[in-house]
Symmetry: D3
Subunit: 159 residues, 6 copies
C-alpha cells in the first residue's frame, strides 16, 4: 500500500488544499493530511480547530486521514511508513522554499520522495494568508474555502 | 473621467512611489494615492503622518488626491468609481505577490483592472524597508525620498 | 482621446490575446493591435494572414484597429499618437523580457508608458507556441483560439 | 498497477535523467521512458540511437520500458493507461515551462496527473545541452552520463 | 593588500558560510567575517556567542578576521579599507534581495564592489533558519554546521 | 598577480560589458576579455571583428587584454593561470544559466572561482541581442555601445 503525507499548517484549509488532496488520491492508496504547529505566534485557528475543520472538509472521501503532527516531518513519515510527501506548487516563491525543504528532508532521510503536484489553475492566487486577510476585512470568501471553514471563519470573526 | 487608485502602506513615501504617481497621471484623469493601514505592528509613521507626508510630496501636482483607506480595496475602488488599480513592478518578488493580489481582487470584483507600471530603473533598488533601515543606521537618504519625508525621518529618529 | 498599442507576433492570435484586448478597451478609448514581423524564419501564418485573422477575431468590437507594423515600435507609437503600449503578463519568463523591452523603449522614447495587464488566470498556460505545437500534433485547440483561427489552423495543416 | 510516463528528448540521456527514473520507480509499479522527436533540426543522436542508449542505460532495472513516441503526449498516456506523467524539476526556468505544459496537458486530458520530482542536488547543473557542448569541445563528460552514452558520444564526435 | 568583508547574521554559522569564506580566501588577501546585529527580536545566539563560534570555526585558517559590526555596512567597509563585500548566492530569492542591497550600498558608497560567489551545490538547501528549525525539533544537524556550532546548539537547546 | 577572465560572445560589445571590465579591474591585477565563438550560425560580427572592436573600446585602459578563445573555458583559464572567471549578473534569467555554467565549470576544474559582478543599474535593460535588433530597425544605439562599435554597426548595416 502506498501512503502519502500532505503536511501543512492549513490556517485555514482552502479549496486549493482540497484540490491537492484529491489529486494525491489518484496516485496513492492513502493520503494523510498532517496539521503542523503554526510557527507564527497567533494562528487564527488552534491546531485542534484546524484538525476538525479538515476532517469535516474531507468527510465522505475515502482513504484520507487527518492527523496532528509535531517534531521532524521525516520522523513522522518513517513512522507512518509513507512512500511520499506531497506538496502543491503554485508559484516561484513556493518553488524555492519547497525545493529547499525537500532537499533537506531527503538529507535527513532518503527513504521517501517529495512529490510536487499542481493545483487547478483557478487556485493559483489562493493561499491561507489571503483568505484570512479578506475574511478579516469583511470580504466574502465562500468561493475559496469549504463551507465548514467559511462558517468557522464567520464565527471566529464575530467574536 | 478615468480614475486610478494607487494603494500602498507608504511607510515612508519614496521617490520611487512619486515616480509611479507621475506615470499614472499620464494615463488617467485622476490618481488617488490611498494609504492603507500598515499590517506590521510598529509602523515608523502613523497613518495620519503618512497621509500628510504624501500630501506635501505631491503638492502642486494636479489631479492627485491622497486618502486614508480601510477595509477591502475592491469596495473602496467601487465607491470611488475607479477604472484601475495601479501598482509598481520592480522585481520578481513584487511580481508574484502583485499578481496574486490582482487575481484575488479581480475575483472579488471584476469591475476594474489592475495596471502594472515600471518605475525608472534607478529606483529598482528602492523600497520603504531599505529607506527606514538606512535612516535608522544614520545613513543619508535624501536622494531616495522627497525632502519633506527626509525631514520627517530625521525628526522621528532624533527622538 | 487615449490610444493604446498592443504589439505582438500573434502567430496565431489566441483567446488569451483577445482577453487582453478586451481589458485594454476598459482603460483606453482606442486599442490598436499591431502585428509585428515574426523574427523566426518560418512563421505558421504570413503577416497578412495574421492581420486578417485578428480582424475577424475582433469583428464587432468597437474601437479596435488592427495594423501591420514594421520598424521600431517607439516610432510607430509616436506616429499613432499612442499614450501607452499594452502587454500581457503571465509568467516570470514573460516578466523579465517584457521589463527589458519596456525599459529599452522608454530609453528610446520617453513619451509613453508600457502598461502591463493580467489575462484571466485560465489563460496562464496559453501561448502561441503551444497552440501551434498541439495543432501540428493533431490536438484540438478550439478551446484556446477564436473559431476563425481554429478553422485557419485546420486548413493550414491539411495542406 | 500504477504506470508513469517519463517523456523527454534525452539527447543524450544523462545521469540526472537516470536519477529521476530511479525515484519514479519508488512511486510507481512501472515507468515508461518515452523518447520524443527532437524538435530541433539537428539532434546529436537519432531517435533510434537515443532509444537504444536509454535501453542500455537502464538494463538490469526492473519495471522500466523505453519507447519511441510521436503525437500528443496525452493520447499516448491514455493508450498506455498511465496514472501519471513524471518530470524532473531543477531550476526556475524548468519550472515555468513545465507548469505550462502540465496545465495544457491537463486541459487536453484530465485523466492523469503530472508529478514533479527533484533529482539529486548534484545534478542541478546538468542538462543535455551542456553535456553535448562540453563533449563537442573535447571535455570529459564521463561523470555526467551513463558509460554507454559516454562511449556513444566519443564515437559520434570522432567521425 | 586586497581585503574583503563577508557580512551576515550567522545565527548560526553553517558549513555553507564556511565554504564561502574559503572561496573568498582564494580571491582576496584577507577576509573579515562581520557579524551583524540580528534584526529579528529573538536570535538563537547573542552577537558575542556568534562571534565566538565563528572564531572557533575558522581557527587555523590564515588571513581571516571575525568582528562585530554595527551601523552602515558601507561605513564599516570604508574604515576597514575593504576592496569588496562578499555574498553567497544560492537561490533566486537570495538573488533579488542581494542585488537590491548591493545596488543600495553602491549608491551610498561607490568605492567597493559587491562580489557574489557560489557555495558548493551541496549547500544549496542550507541556511541558518532551517538549521535552527531542525535543531529545535530534535534533528541531527552535525552534517550542516561546524562541530563547535553543533555542540553549542545542543547546549542551547538543552536549557 | 591575480588574473581574471571575462568570457563572452560580445556580438557586439556594449557599455554594459565595458562597465563589468572596469569593475573587475578594481578587484584583479589583470583582466582578459575572451571572445568566444558565437554558437549561433550567423553572428553579426566575425570573431576577428569582435576582437578588434573590443580592443579599440578598451584602448587606454591598463591591465586589460583581449583574446580569441576556442575550446573549453576551464582549459583556457588554467593555461592563463587565471584566479577567477568574471560574469555580469543583471536578471534572473542570467542568474540560472550563469549558475549552471559556473557549477559545471567548477566540476570540470575546481582551481578557480566564478565571480559575479553587478553592472550599473542603468545597464539592466541592455544586452547584445537588443542592441542588434534596434540597430537593424534603424534605431539609434549610440547611448548603449562604445563609439567604435556604433560606427561599426552603421557600416555593417549600410551594406
Amino acid at each position: 500500500m502506498t501512503i502519502a503525507i500532505y503536511p501543512g499548517t492549513f490556517d485555514p484549509f482552502t479549496n486549493g488544499h482540497l484540490d491537492i488532496v484529491q489529486r494525491a488520491l489518484r496516485l496513492f492508496d492513502k493520503v494523510i493530511v498532517t496539521v503542523a504547529r503554526n510557527s507564527s505566534k497567533n494562528p487564527m485557528f488552534s491546531e485542534k480547530e484546524r484538525l476538525k475543520l479538515i476532517q469535516e472538509s474531507v468527510k465522505g472521501m475515502k482513504n484520507v486521514d487527518v492527523e496532528l503532527f509535531d517534531g521532524l516531518l521525516v520522523d513522522y513519515a518513517r513512522e507512518k511508513k509513507a512512500t511520499a510527501i506531497v506538496r502543491g506548487l503554485r508559484a516561484i516563491s513556493d518553488f524555492e522554499y519547497e525545493l529547499q525543504m525537500a532537499l533537506m528532508n531527503r538529507k535527513l532521510n532518503n527513504a521517501f520522495e517529495t512529490v510536487f503536484l499542481m493545483p487547478n489553475e483557478k487556485y493559483t492566487y489562493l493561499n491561507s494568508n489571503i483568505v484570512r486577510e479578506i475574511a478579516r476585512l469583511g470580504g466574502n470568501v465562500s468561493e475559496f474555502v469549504p463551507s465548514v471553514v467559511n462558517n468557522a471563519l464567520r464565527q471566529k470573526l464575530k467574536k
